[in-house]
């Protein structure tokens, strides 16, 4: 807290850079640690160049983008619902995106038209968010959360149905693995496919700061301060569906990053929703990249799924958060 804002920015950049370096060096194939500095030399090992530029670099970029999307949307949704337990998964957005992606992949649409996966993922995310906001409209946070749970349930059932009807006999196994979330073996194609949507979503979400600040006084006061709540909800819906929809379409369902990142930065930047947004974005990116590095480092024969790791690490934090909330609540 005694750290000045400028130092904080420098520190955040340093941490991100260090994580990126580690991410480029860590994988199933061991590369000498000086590889990064000899990549552009003519005598560089072509295998190492290939692995770093075509496998690990896109994976790293995706981890940063997906983490940023989850962190920011988590912070925005916590601000909108004025509930510290909100996260993208809560609105059914992730499960909606998963349903869309599953349909795209297993009907073969994605083979004919590569954009089908992110676009159907986005469509699923939009559908789910719209449904949640319609069902839980106006009646406060609890109804919204319950509506989100209901929509998630419907989306999961839809996913199961899509698997039932999938022509590929391995589909059920594949998709249950995919739903655990992973960034393994992603390519620049994936980056190019989802980055435009994801970045657009981040920009839309990033503009909600002032309104969320005002909303911390409740809906009536926020309205009296000139905030248009309907357009704010729409903005959050659009941004979350774009960012989280794209993230889920490429990386599967990854829990807890959206919940954790805002909480992680609040001790440093305070509770004002606007001030939490960009730090939570950076924190989300760093956390997800660290988690992805973790999946590659942990010595299991089977690569640990990213979503599994984030939930395993996130749950104790979640519990401690609940305990703290219970203590501070009257």
């Amino acid at each position: 807290m005694s750290v000045s804002p400028r130092k904080r920015v420098v520190l955040a950049i340093a941490v991100l850079l260090a994580l990126v370096m580690v991410s480029l060096l860590v994988g199933r194939v061991a590369l000498p640690s000086n590889t990064l500095f000899t990549l552009w030399r003519s005598d560089a090992d072509p295998l190492a160049v290939l692995i770093i530029t075509e496998l690990r670099l896109p994976r790293t970029v995706l981890a940063l983008l997906v983490g940023a999307a989850l962190g920011l949307s988590g912070a925005v949704l916590q601000g909108l619902t004025r509930n510290p337990l909100a996260e993208p998964g809560l609105l059914g957005v992730s499960s909606g995106a998963a349903l869309g992606a599953v349909i795209a992949i297993h009907t073969g649409l994605s083979l004919v038209w590569p954009l089908a996966t992110p676009l159907l993922g986005l469509a699923g995310a939009f559908g789910a968010a719209l449904l949640t906001l319609t069902l839980g409209r106006g009646e406060g946070v609890l109804v919204l959360i319950l509506a989100g749970a209901a929509v998630s349930g419907v989306m999961f059932a839809g996913t199961a149905l899509a698997l039932n009807l999938a022509p590929n006999p391995y589909a059920a196994y594949e998709i249950s693995m995919w739903l655990m979330g992973s960034l393994a073996d992603r390519s620049w194609d994936h980056v190019l496919l989802v980055a435009p949507f994801l970045v657009a979503g981040l920009l839309v979400l990033g503009g909600t700061g002032r309104a969320l600040d005002a909303l911390s006084l409740g809906e009536q006061q926020a309205t009296s301060l000139g905030i248009n709540l309907r357009s704010l909800r729409l903005q959050v819906l659009l941004g979350t569906a774009l960012a989280v929809g794209a993230a889920t379409a490429v990386a599967g369902a990854i829990g807890f990053i959206g919940l954790l990142a805002p909480h992680w930065v609040r001790p440093w930047v305070g509770h004002e929703p606007r001030r939490v947004l960009w730090p939570a974005t950076v924190a989300g990116a760093a956390l997800l990249l660290a988690a992805d590095i973790g999946t590659r480092l942990l010595p299991f024969a089977q690569e640990l799924k990213l979503g599994v790791l984030t939930v395993l690490v996130g749950t104790p934090f979640f519990v401690s958060l609940l305990l703290r909330l219970r203590r501070s609540a009257p």
Binding site: R210, D213, S216, L217, G218, Q220, G226, E272, P273
Partner: protein, 255 residues
């Protein structure tokens, strides 16, 4: 000097008529206490006057311009509104809560202009909150929170201040203090203050005018000394009451 006028305002909520042909008018320098039993439509009238709720029929004008014609931010700069039991959902420092009152004048991105910091300081001082500056709003006592919210409303220097039950839940000292503060805002700073009040004694002592509502209709409109009579109280609340004294020592007692 601002002028707020409502003409034949009717409003139904869930098919139940809440306001029926209410016409009122008020201007800067007045402190109006809205009185009436629970469910009389006081809060609804305040939200309509604040422009948060559009009436089914009838019009509300601020300075001869319909409220609906104002851009939300322009309206927010001229009138402040505090709902019943306002609270802050995040543990923000008092200073930041007060700063939220400047929202309508701020750009979407970036920090506060230095001039705004001066306005925040002034609002904090006006509400005796300098010592609480950094305290999280969620840990304040009821009186302190009420003062913080009032500071939040005042920081934007509004011409019209609409407050729903500003003294609900406050102990006598804080209630007195709050009413005194609202009266000063009207008298000394020529603002228009409209507040729903249940404590009739305090309303009588500090308000310059009363609006008495029952079942969505305006039963009386006038200065407390002549308006607040035993007959009106019977009509309003179905209780027998006597009104004694006048001015700063007036009080209402029930029999």
């Amino acid at each position: 000097m601002s002028l707020l006028q409502a003409q034949d305002v009717c409003l139904s909520l869930s098919a139940r008529p809440v306001l029926q042909a209410v016409s009122v008018s008020a201007q800067g320098g007045e402190f109006i206490a809205v009185i009436g039993p629970n469910g009389a439509g006081k809060s609804t009238l305040l939200t309509v006057l604040a422009g948060l709720l559009a009436p089914d029929s009838g019009t509300v004008h601020l300075d001869a311009k319909p409220l609906a014609a104002y851009a939300p931010r322009d309206l927010a700069r001229q009138r402040a509104y505090l709902p019943q039991n306002p609270r802050c959902d995040w543990p923000l420092p008092v200073e930041r809560v007060v700063a939220l009152g400047l929202t309508p004048g701020l750009p979407a991105f970036g920090g506060f202009p230095p001039a705004d910091q001066l306005r925040i300081d002034a609002a904090l001082q006006a509400c005796d909150l300098q010592s609480r500056r950094q305290q999280p709003a969620t840990t304040l006592s009821g009186g302190e929170l009420a003062r913080t919210m009032l500071a939040r409303a005042l920081v934007g220097d509004p011409a019209v201040l609409i407050v729903d039950e500003p003294i609900a839940g406050l102990d006598p000292r804080h209630a007195l203090e709050a009413m005194r503060r609202l009266a000063r805002l009207a008298r000394d700073e020529q603002r228009l203050v409209i507040a729903a009040v249940h404590d009739l004694t305090l309303a009588m002592r500090y308000a310059t005018r009363l609006w008495a509502l029952r079942d969505g209709r305006l039963l009386a409109d006038g200065p407390p000394a002549t308006t607040l009579t035993a007959e009106l109280l019977r009509e309003l609340f179905d209780v027998a009451a006597c009104v004694s004294g006048e001015g700063g020592s007036a009080y209402v007692d029930y029999v």
